[in-house]
């Protein structure tokens, strides 16, 4: 058993995870699999791998375990790189990199002396001996690791031996290209981590992005950290890690996700109002043309309907108006009108924004009261009167603690008429009021 191959970098203030692989090397094949165990990792552990698939495995309280499975078709030797870190904005010192050498199994075709005893050495491992046939041909199964560069073929025949060196042209191992966070939220920059295996022979490392700005943030040996900022309007950004001669070693696609605007911007609708009693009062005046003008006041009792922004209101008020007129040579005639309006209204709480309230009212009712005639030339007269009124109104108020002061403008159509009087005690009614709710 070979000890675990851990490539932990210098620690920073935040300790990097400790990673180990079991087995520490393996031969690629249909049953190839490794367990990767991560310790000393805080919450928000991220992982990236240069090849194959990492899946969650049963973990403990103090460690996190993954299964790594190579691609089914992978047979060529490769140095597989794993990277682990915590958080969304790591530095290179926060990243732990583990390299897992994966060997490939192949048959080496050898041509040597007839009937020679052949042994093959690849990166220190010996395969054979096996005897060549009468033509000197032989096929010998060998395992080639990612660091192998050549195979030494040792042919022994009687009292002599020959050694030949066969160069091995292995495909380059894939680079690790990881993104953190894995996607860009509304075009926000992300970090791209590149780890280059030590088997890489081509010079140079570059990260090319289509539709994004790439800035190199940090570099330590064969590890680099880039900052990738998608251009506005991009939904995806293809990323390619390659050598300076243009050989692509890793590819990744950055996805740009858009936040759901409606959920973020639109505040939740206010809860439907409960049933409530409303008490209020208002004072003001009215102007209806001529002598149809005077002070007015009202007391309002309302009942707010459950789950509806509507308040049914009973309004009891008082209004007063009077006039004096010269009548020929007789003298001066006075006429005064005192009314006690009793009206029903429906108020719609149309807008409620913060402390501001805007309401619309409509209603009508009766105008009972008394009319008094007096002069300096005949006797006084008092009579009961009964008029009517219909109105619409707009209210604007500010919620101040438990009460709501408000202003009301009320166009009203009203009439009080007898054989001695014609009056329209409405017109434009202006009020300043305050009300409170009882729940």
């Amino acid at each position: 058993m070979v000890s675990a191959f851990i490539l932990a970098v210098a620690t920073s203030a935040q300790a990097a995870p400790v990673v180990e692989a079991e087995p520490s090397r393996l031969v690629l094949g249909p049953r190839a699999r490794a367990e990767i165990t991560v310790r000393n990792a805080g919450p928000g552990l991220h992982a990236a791998v240069s090849m194959g698939t990492l899946t969650d495995a049963p973990s403990g309280e103090d460690f996190k375990r993954f299964y790594w499975i190579p691609p089914a078709e992978a047979r060529a030797p490769a140095l597989v790189l794993f990277a682990f870190w915590t958080g969304e904005s790591p530095t290179l010192t926060d990243v732990t990199v583990l390299a897992l050498p994966c060997s490939g199994r192949t048959e080496l075709a050898i041509e040597t002396e007839p009937a020679a005893q052949v042994t093959v050495e690849v990166a220190g491992a010996r395969f054979g001996p096996r005897r060549a046939d009468r033509q000197g041909r032989l096929k010998l199964p060998v395992e080639v690791g990612p660091h192998a560069h050549e195979a030494r073929v040792i042919a022994e025949l009687a009292d002599q031996s020959k050694i030949r060196v066969i160069p091995l042209n292995l495909p380059p191992s894939a680079w690790l290209l990881g993104l953190t966070p894995e996607s860009s939220v509304d075009g926000a920059p992300v970090h791209a981590l590149i780890v280059v295996p030590d088997t890489e022979e081509s010079a140079g490392i570059e990260l090319v992005a289509e539709g994004a700005k790439v800035e190199r943030e940090q570099e330590a040996g064969r590890r680099l950290l880039f900052r990738v900022t998608p251009e506005p309007g991009r939904s995806t950004v293809p990323l390619v890690a390659r050598t300076l001669d243009g050989s692509v070693r890793a590819e990744e696609t950055l996805t740009v996700v858009r936040p759901v605007v409606s959920a973020a911007v639109v505040p939740p609708p206010p809860p439907p109002p409960p049933a409530r009693w409303v008490l209020g009062g208002a004072i003001g005046g009215y102007v209806g043309g001529g002598s149809n003008a005077g002070p007015q006041a009202a007391f309002i009792v309302g009942y707010g309907l459950r789950n509806l922004p509507l308040v049914a209101e009973l309004e009891v008020g008082v209004r007063s108006q009077s006039m004096s007129a010269q009548v020929g040579t007789l003298g001066v005639q006075d006429s005064s009108l005192l009314l006690f309006p009793i009206e029903l209204a429906l108020r719609w709480e149309a807008i409620s924004a913060g402390t501001f309230r805007l309401g619309i009212r409509a209603g009508g009712g009766i105008l009972p009261g008394s009319h008094h005639l007096s002069s300096n030339f005949d006797a006084d007269l008092s009579e009961g009167v009964l008029g009517w009124e219909v109105f619409a109104a707009a209210q604007a108020g500010l919620r101040v603690g438990p009460v709501e002061p408000y202003l009301e403008v009320r166009p009203a159509l009203s009439k009080v008429s007898t054989s001695h009087l014609e009056a329209r005690p409405g017109g434009g009614i202006f009020s300043v009021g305050v009300r409170g709710e009882l729940r």
């Binding site: 002598s291 006039m323 005639q333 002069s375 030339f377 007269l381 009964l386 009056a423």
Partner: protein
């Protein structure tokens, strides 16, 4: 609640059509009595709510101030309400002894009657009247005549007399009040043809007087 409803219904019944105006009244008659042979001012104090309509839209008020006042059969005072219902007018000595109702009829037909509010007692009448000579006159032109009551009450006659010019018309038909038995009256005689005429005076007690003939030209 029921009480309030009743109040509203009552108010509606009372108020929708307007109040029915109260009847007028004759508050006082001054003097309330006098001898038949005297004349002079009589003051009636009336109380009424005149028919009034106040229009608050135009800030105007209209009042129906028409009225008719009578003492007995005789029309008294102005035909329109005045002086806050205190009516003073001259009442000649044309009412015989007796008691008379004072009536007031307003423009909307409301009526006030003070039964037997004015009493007339038996008077002391002169024994006759003399008329100073009347010079030649022109028809339709006013001229003065001097009337003298003969005998009668202490201090002289203070009543009135009726005028008549046979064959012609004369205005006024009743004289003003005598003072200490003397009355200078301005009259107008209108004739249809020139000629000689005379003036007759008479009182309620049946005493008379006649002037000498005087010529009236056209």
């Amino acid at each position: 609640m029921t009480r309030a409803l009743r109040f509203l219904i009552a108010l509606c019944i009372a108020g929708c059509g307007g109040a029915t105006l109260p009847p007028p009244s004759v508050v006082s008659v001054s003097p309330a009595a006098r001898p038949a042979s005297t004349s002079g001012p009589v003051t009636l104090t009336l109380d009424a709510v005149l028919p009034t309509f106040a229009d608050h839209g135009s800030s105007t008020a209209t009042v129906d101030d028409r009225m008719t006042v009578k003492i007995g059969p005789r029309t008294f005072g102005p035909s329109r309400w005045a002086d806050a219902g205190v009516i003073t007018d001259f009442l000649p000595s044309v009412l015989p002894e007796g008691s008379y109702d004072v009536t007031l009829v307003l423009g909307d037909g409301r009526l006030a009657m003070a039964t037997d509010a004015f009493r007339v007692s038996a008077g002391t009448w002169p024994v006759g009247y003399t008329i100073d000579t009347i010079p030649e006159q022109t028809s339709g032109s006013p001229f003065g005549v001097t009337l003298r009551a003969q005998g009668g009450q202490d201090g002289g006659y203070i009543g009135t007399v009726n005028f008549a010019v046979p064959g012609a018309s004369v205005t006024p038909t009743i004289s003003g009040p005598f003072e200490a038995g003397l009355r200078v009256e301005v009259i107008t005689v209108t004739v249809s043809r020139p000629g000689n005429y005379h003036l007759d005076v008479s009182d309620l007690g049946g005493r008379t007087g006649r002037s000498l003939d005087f010529r009236v030209n056209q």
